[in-house]
């Protein structure tokens, strides 16, 4: 396989005594879409912020295109983080309120010391490709509709010539038809520009529709990851299974029996012993409270962190010491 464009190793993010990301590793490959799913509070947004450089990693390493992100970012000098852009959950809030759209769009070019008439026109052309007409250029962010603000934020991110785009809940607040439009747009941009996406969402329909691979997070850890189809068809982790069963699908043949989890998501500042999911797990056994399972790669391409995976002839694998 090719070298990953992004690789995160044993990342931890701590805020005070709370560890929101507790040892997350994954890789993202060229022109691939990885979907990161999990309920609110599982740490997926912390992962996004850490990748974008907004939150420092407490430990762990991050390589982008093979370069460590640790060296300080200096204006005008190339840096590994230049290749990553983040689409914020609230795109309107990510636009500086006293700038017109044209100033906002010119800014990434100026920051990259890349502003020229040719580049500006190329950007505007890319803009009309994603439905941003020149009539919006003199508007202020508060004069834009939600969809327009989203496109401006997207075009701004593209102007920075990223290789990787992290999208935090890209479809939040959009109705279904617009969601589909946006996802198609993201896909066509991926095909055109060879972008790699990390899509962060709690919406399984969105993730399932566009992701090549998914990673399921629970309480700061990835508990299952692998090709989307494999995992959606036959989840191995009881949490993934419960998550998928809660998903509404219109197709009756795909409807699963709903698994309702007991209790609430525990506090990340005081995670349960052993497997973090065991207090809520429908198939937990006593050993689950003692041993914390590692992500183990399976022959079908997935990796799962569970001692007693479902949909598998239950052979407890290596129970570490």
């Amino acid at each position: 396989m090719n070298d990953p464009v992004l690789s995160l190793k044993d990342a931890m993010v701590r805020y005070g005594t709370t560890t929101t990301v507790a040892g997350v590793s994954f890789e993202l490959f060229l022109a691939e879409t990885l979907g990161l799913v999990g309920e609110s509070g599982c740490g997926k947004s912390s992962v996004a912020r850490a990748l974008a450089g907004l939150t420092p990693l407490s430990s762990g390493r991050l390589f982008i295109d093979g370069h460590d992100v640790l060296p300080k970012r200096r204006p005008g000098k190339p840096h590994a983080r230049d290749k990553v852009q983040l689409l914020f959950q609230d795109p309107a809030a990510s636009l500086s309120p006293r700038m017109t759209v044209s100033t906002l769009l010119a800014e990434p070019l100026k920051i990259r010391r890349d502003f020229s008439l040719a580049n500006w026109q190329a950007l505007l052309e890319l803009g009309s490709g994603i439905g941003l007409g020149p009539q919006l250029l003199h508007r202020y962010p508060h004069q834009l509709s939600g969809g327009q603000a989203r496109r401006v934020a997207l075009l701004r991110a593209l102007a920075a010539k990223p290789q990787i785009i992290i999208a935090d809940e890209p479809t939040a607040g959009l109705d279904i038809s617009v969601q589909g439009e946006l996802l198609n747009l993201l896909r066509s941009l991926q095909a055109k520009l060879g972008l790699s996406y990390l899509l962060i969402s709690h919406n399984l329909n969105v993730i399932g529709r566009v992701s090549d691979r998914v990673a399921v997070m629970y309480l700061g850890q990835i508990i299952e990851t692998g090709p989307t189809q494999t995992i959606f068809r036959a989840p191995a982790h009881p949490y993934t299974e419960a998550l998928l069963s809660s998903n509404l699908t219109v197709r009756a043949d795909r409807r699963r029996e709903r698994i309702v989890l007991k209790g609430e998501l525990p506090s990340p500042s005081n995670p349960p012993s052993g497997c973090r999911f065991h207090p809520r797990c429908p198939v937990a056994r006593p050993v689950c409270a003692k041993v914390s399972p590692e992500l183990v790669r399976k022959p079908d391409g997935r990796a799962v962190a569970c001692i007693f995976p479902v949909n598998e002839t239950a052979v407890p694998h290596a129970i570490a010491g």
């Binding site: 974008a52 450089g53 907004l54 970012r73 204006p75 005008g76 840096h79 983080r81 230049d82 990553v84 852009q85 983040l86 914020f88 609230d90 809030a93 990510s94 636009l95 500086s96 309120p97 006293r98 700038m99 800014e107 990434p108 920051i111 990259r112 202020y140 508060h142 004069q143 934020a153 701004r156 920075a160």
Partner: protein, 277 residues
């Protein structure tokens, strides 16, 4: 242009614009507007009431009050604008620095602000002028120091509120330089309330200057300043109310004008209140 029309839309704004324009015009075109020389003494005409010749009457040396008020506006506005520009610049620089710096620097700057604000502004200005001596230059400098925390505090608070907002984070992700974030994204978004504050502080500076002059620590007597005029008027109040009344009126119009302008500005500057398109 549309901006001025926006301000003029409310009655308070209209009054503010007229009053401020009047005072500014008087200050800029003093030699053209003043009917008499401001320092021409005419002992025969002392303490006259209003007449066609002397619209506001004369003072105890027979000088034309209107002319002195017109020339006084130069001193008042000159001092006010200099003080405000110095303290606004220094205050915003310090306040933004405090908000974006490590805790130790922040505490130091806020501590300085606290020391300055712990004295009533007129008392501190008085003490500073008493130590460094009266005179126009010193008055401007000392009053500026008194007003720095005003702007510094607001700038710091605004910046703190802004620091973690999404659009600043978006700039960080784009790799924007620190100066770009401060100049293009922080300052334009905090400057509205600061301009409003500046407008509302102008009358305060004018009254402090008048107060200092009234106490004999500001502008030296032959030069017409509203404070001096008020002081003279106060001395001869039992013989004629016109010197005190007219200088008080001038102070009032200027003060009210700038305060109302500040308030109207506050409402107009908020882009969200402005209708789209």
């Amino acid at each position: 242009m549309r901006f001025i029309l926006d301000i003029a839309r409310s009655p308070g704004g209209t009054f503010a614009l007229v009053a401020v324009a009047l005072v500014c015009l008087a200050a800029l075109a003093a030699p053209l507007v003043a009917p008499h020389a401001p320092n021409a003494i005419a002992p025969v005409d002392r303490l006259l009431g209003p007449s066609l010749e002397h619209l506001f009457g004369t003072d105890h040396l027979g000088r034309d009050l209107l002319s002195r008020l017109v020339y006084g506006s130069r001193v008042a506005l000159g001092i006010a604008f200099s003080v405000i520009s110095i303290s606004l610049t220094a205050g915003v620089a310090l306040g933004v620095t405090a908000a974006l710096s490590p805790r130790a620097v922040d505490l130091l700057i806020v501590g300085l602000f606290d020391v300055v604000t712990s004295f009533p502004s007129i008392v501190l200005a008085l003490a500073l002028v008493a130590v460094f001596g009266p005179g126009l230059g010193n008055v401007v400098l000392m009053v500026s120091i008194v007003f720095i925390p005003h702007f510094g505090r607001v700038a710091r608070a605004q910046t703190l509120a802004l620091r973690n907002s999404t659009f600043i984070e978006a700039e960080v992700v784009l790799g924007a330089e620190r100066w770009r974030i401060i100049l293009h994204h922080v300052i334009p978004n905090i400057i509205g309330p600061i301009f409003v504050l500046a407008c509302m502080d102008i009358p305060v500076v004018i009254t402090i200057e008048a107060g200092l002059s009234f106490l004999g620590l500001g502008v030296r007597p032959p030069l017409a300043s509203w404070g001096n005029l008020l002081n003279d008027g106060y001395t001869y109040l039992d013989q004629s109310i016109w010197p005190a009344l007219s200088s008080g009126l001038a102070l009032m119009v200027a003060t009210l004008g700038f305060s109302l302008l500040g308030e109207t500005l506050r409402d107009t500057l908020d882009p969200k209140l402005r209708k789209a398109l």
